[in-house]
Every structure is written in C-alpha cells, then in structure tokens.
Symmetry: C2
Subunit: 333 residues, 2 copies
C-alpha cells in the first residue's frame, strides 16, 4: 500500500485537521464527534443542510460545506458510515431555527444512522427532513445497499438544496426539491482499477490488465459485469445508454451532465469522456446546458469515471447557477 | 495501459474538443495549430498572457485560461513541447495592442520554441516579454532541462501576472512581477508511482512496492534519490527542508503554500500532507497566509505530491486575492 499517510487509523482525523488548517476562515471542525460546519453556522432563519458518509469520496462531503451548499458534513472512517452522534451534533450545530435537511446517500448504514439522528433531533425539537439519493442505475441491490445506491446526484442535490435554503425556503420545500433532483437524476460508473483502503492495505478487488468493470459502486462494490478494456466511446455508450434508458431522458430534454473521475483518472481523460457523452446525447436530441467535469465523488485512487444526468427545468437551472462558495465548488462568490 | 481514451494519438485533440464543449462560453479552441484562448480574446488595451507546455499536467495550462489569469494556452502532445507556430498563433490571438507575456516552464524544448515564437512576434510588431520559471530545487540539471525545472510556481505566476494584467499594467511590469514571483518561489516533488504516457504504453520508470522517489520531475524524470516508503511527516520533512533551505525562507516570512497532487493521489492524502507542512513551517516561524491544496500541475495518473512556497508581500497577496474566473481556479467572479 503506497499512500501519503502517517498511520492507517489516523487518516480521517489528520485529513480533517489539514482541512481545518487550510480553510480557517471558511470551516469549523469538531473532532469528537467529527463534523465540519461552515464558519458562520448556524445561520439564523435559514434551513440547515447536512450530509455525510464514509470518507474516501473527497471532495464529498466536506469540500461542499459553505454558503450556497452544505452547512455541515459528517465524515465517517474510510468507506464507513458516520455515527448517529456525529449526525446529531452536526444537526444541532447548523440549526438556525428553521429545521434541518439531511441528504443521505442510499447505503444501509448511512440510512439507518441518519434515521436515528433525525429521531433524536426531533425529540429535541429540531424538525428534520430526509432526502435519500438513489440515482445509480447499475444494480438494484448491492453489497451495502437495499435498493439503488446513492452516487453522483448527491453532489447536485447538495448544490441545489443549498441554493434554495439561501433563499430562505422552508425545510419541507428544500427537501421536496432534493427529492425532485433525485427523481430527475440518474448515474452509472465504471472502474479501470480497484482502490485500497488504508485499514485493509489490499485492493478491494482484482481486475485483469485487460478488463474493466461496468456499473461499479463507489466503494468498489461489484457492478453489472466485467468486459475487456474498450475505447472511451464504448465505455460512454455502456454508461450513458443505461442512464438515458432508465429515466428515460428523451429528445428535447435539457440536462446537467456531470463527468466525474473516481480519483485516479487524469482530467485529460475525463474531457475525452465528456466529448463522447456530448456526442452520445446530441445524437438522441438531448442537450447539455450545464456541464461539470472533474473529481466530485471519488473512490480513493480508483481509476474510472461515472456519468450523472439531471433533467433541468428553469427553476433547477437557476438554483444550480446561484452563487456557491465552498472549497470544491465555487462560483459567483 | 488502462486509460479512458479512444486512441493514443488522438488523446490531446479529443481532450481539447471535450474542453471546448464543456466551456463554450468561456474558451475558444483552435486545432491547427492547437491553442486555447479566453472567449473574449483579445482584450483591447490589456497585456495578453500565454503559457504552454506538454499536455498531461492538467489542469495546467488550459484550465487556467480566463479572466484574471491566462489569455491563452498552447498544449503540446503529452509530455512534449508545443511548437513555435502554436505559440505564435496564440500570441497573435491574445494581443490586445499592449504586448504579450510568455510564461515558460524551464524545459529545453519549451524555452527554445517560445524563444522562436517571441522572435517571430517581434518581427510582426508584437512586443513579447518572457518569464521563465525554474522553481524546482530538486536537481540542478535534468533529463529535459539545463538548470532547474519550472514546476508549481508557474501556476502562481500565471495567477498573479493575470491579476496585474487586468489592472492594465504594462507588459514590462507584468513580466517583472512574474520574475519576482519566480525569484520568491521554490518547489519540490515526490512520487509513489510512475505514470504511463498514452504513446509509450509503459510506465516511465519502475519503483519498488516499498520505494518512493524524492525530487521527481513532472515527466517522471529522476529525482534526487530513492528511499524506502515513509510516513507523510517524513515525506514533508524531505520536501519542505529542501525548499525552505534553498531560498531560504526565514522566521517571520509569510507564504503562500501549495500542496499539489501529481494526479493519482486522493485529496484526503493531500490534506494530510498540508497538515504536516503547516506544522513544519510553524516550527520555523513561517506563516502560511494563503493555502492551495489540490491537483494543479499533475503528471498524468502519477501518485505523489509537490510542495511550492511563495514568499508573500502585500502586493503579491492582493494580486493573488484578485478575482479569477477559469475552469480550474475561480473566486470572486
């Protein structure tokens, strides 16, 4: 295992310390329990939004904390759900008196723990609405999930809900919007290589030199199938066909298209993937009106990519375009 | 070789096409010769700034094209210098009547070709000033360089010169500023793994499972030495000691500190490196007043990192903070 770390069991804590040191004016970090909140949390009168999940998917979620996106994030250990006490503490820290939205990727541990935290918060008089994302069309159930996995749409839901919260919409409205984003969004990913968690020290799976895995999860969970390595155009056809046919997206649709790197894939390749995706959608009369290309929900150093589409309307477009000021996503601010 | 590409000889062109499709409102791309300019180039009365070099170091340089940074970038093939005709065409495309600054990383091919382009531009009546960066303290000469290599400080020089050009400073002033940034900046990098160019299909070098290379170049050129894999704290001590002792940086200095990923290293590890760097500098009375953590000058999918310091004064800090609006670096806009 070759990693720039000091000790496997110190990775998450030390990375959090590094983040806190890098963004002292923007973020506040708590260590016990571990959570990150924007420096000015709680914002009075604004719905608070938190998310969380296992670490190893950076910049998700801590990199999305800031005005216009998340108020707080709960990082678990690598590929491990955070605990209800983290979520409860973060919920309290971001509650500005208007309730809190939990954006939860559909993994069994995350969903269960966020449910417990929402119950605890409710007992303390903080109204919590939960948005569960489950946009991954690859598999119905998987190693860590009943139902579809929550992946790339989570980034987009965090941005759009964050913009709505800045407009002082109600906790019910913000959550409804998050559910609508999830309903209009679909994703699928693939891997060229596995990744290695610091605690295991071993690759999560083994792929042959001439193989790729289509439909992989962000923890290296098995996907739909393996097949021989193919050109980017074929990879995009595999992913985008599954995504487009699922909703389905149709001719005339305008979409936000995210090409996301799994961590170990250079940007130069992601732009080639974007080129292929653009052509694929154009052929079907689907227009990308908002693109996002880069590493947003990763799987440590895994090589590979995922594709996420969100069908846009005027409201979603406007909220996507609204100012955002986080370490990993920033514009208009 | 596992890459998301269609054909090795189409990588750069197709990635450029992807970039153009992803940023239609922000960038204009020419293909023959290949260059990228900001959509509103040339800006009348403003000094134009271009840079360029081999591809494979994304987001450098194309990702830094936009208001407040570069006016244009010339991408060569992967790890290969762009040609004088690319540089000449880009120079003409960004010349708003006030001259053009070429920011050139010190590699023999880049320097020679930019020199030819500057001569050609001069013959056509465009005054060109050249800033050569050579901030890498690792080695005096190397595989592709007479003298020190130009690395991370290039990103920072592009940002600071870009801000000065927006203030309508003269071509001589902007170039002087770039030289001052280079003079006050130092860098060093290391690798945990090699990378593979699309055209060769083979790793650029071989490192043992328990080895790391200290002082590596961004093309996988040999560094200072190899040693057994060590904790992040030791890695940072190696890099930061060499950097700090070289200028030297002293107690009382305020610095911009960039922790840059080589491409294949997850952000979670870069934040651990930043934590170690912060502690290292704090012990020596050096204060980081501006941090930058992420992938800014990469080496395809190489795992590793580099550290760059720039000694700041009020003027450099102000220009660093000025608005910038590029695909890869954006704030205040």
């Amino acid at each position: 295992m070759k990693k720039l770390i000091n000790a496997p069991d110190a990775v998450v804590r030390e990375a959090l310390e590094g983040m806190e040191l890098a963004y002292p004016d923007r973020l506040r970090v708590s260590y016990d329990p571990a959570y990150i909140v924007r420096a000015d949390a709680p914002v009075a009168g604004k719905v608070g939004i938190i998310s969380g999940g296992g670490s190893g998917h950076e910049p998700m979620h801590g990199g999305f904390v800031g005005p216009g996106m998340l108020d707080g994030a709960c990082p678990g250990e690598v590929f491990t759900s955070p605990t209800p006490d983290q979520m409860m503490a973060a919920t309290k820290a971001v509650d500005g008196g208007s309730g809190v939205v939990h954006i939860v990727k559909n993994y069994t541990g995350d969903v269960m723990n966020f449910e417990m935290a929402a119950d605890l918060a409710g007992e303390e008089g903080i109204p919590v609405e939960v948005v569960v994302t489950n946009d991954d069309v690859a598999v119905q159930d998987s190693l860590y999930t009943a139902g579809r996995r929550g992946v790339g749409i989570t980034v987009i839901a965090e941005k759009i809900c964050g913009a709505a919260a800045e407009e002082r919409r109600s906790v019910v409205d913000v959550a409804e919007l998050g559910r609508r984003v999830n309903a209009e969004g679909r994703s699928m990913g693939m891997a060229l290589t596995a990744c290695t968690t610091p605690s295991s020290g071993e690759p999560s799976f083994v792929l042959g030199d001439d193989e790729m895995e289509i439909g992989i999860g962000i923890h290296g969970e098995p996907g739909r199938y393996r097949e021989p390595l193919a050109p980017a155009s074929v990879v995009v056809d595999r992913l985008a066909s599954a995504v487009v046919e699922d909703l389905p997206y149709s001719s005339g649709d305008q979409v936000l298209a995210m090409v996301n790197g799994m961590g170990g894939t250079p940007l130069i390749e992601l732009f080639i993937v974007y080129r292929e995706l653009h052509a694929f959608l154009e052929e079907r009369g689907i227009t990308i009106t908002r693109p996002l290309v880069g590493n947003y929900i990763t799987s440590l150093e895994m090589a590979g990519c995922s594709i996420t589409l969100l069908r846009l309307d005027d409201e979603l477009t406007r909220l996507w375009d609204a100012p955002v000021n986080t370490p990993a996503l920033r514009w208009g601010a």
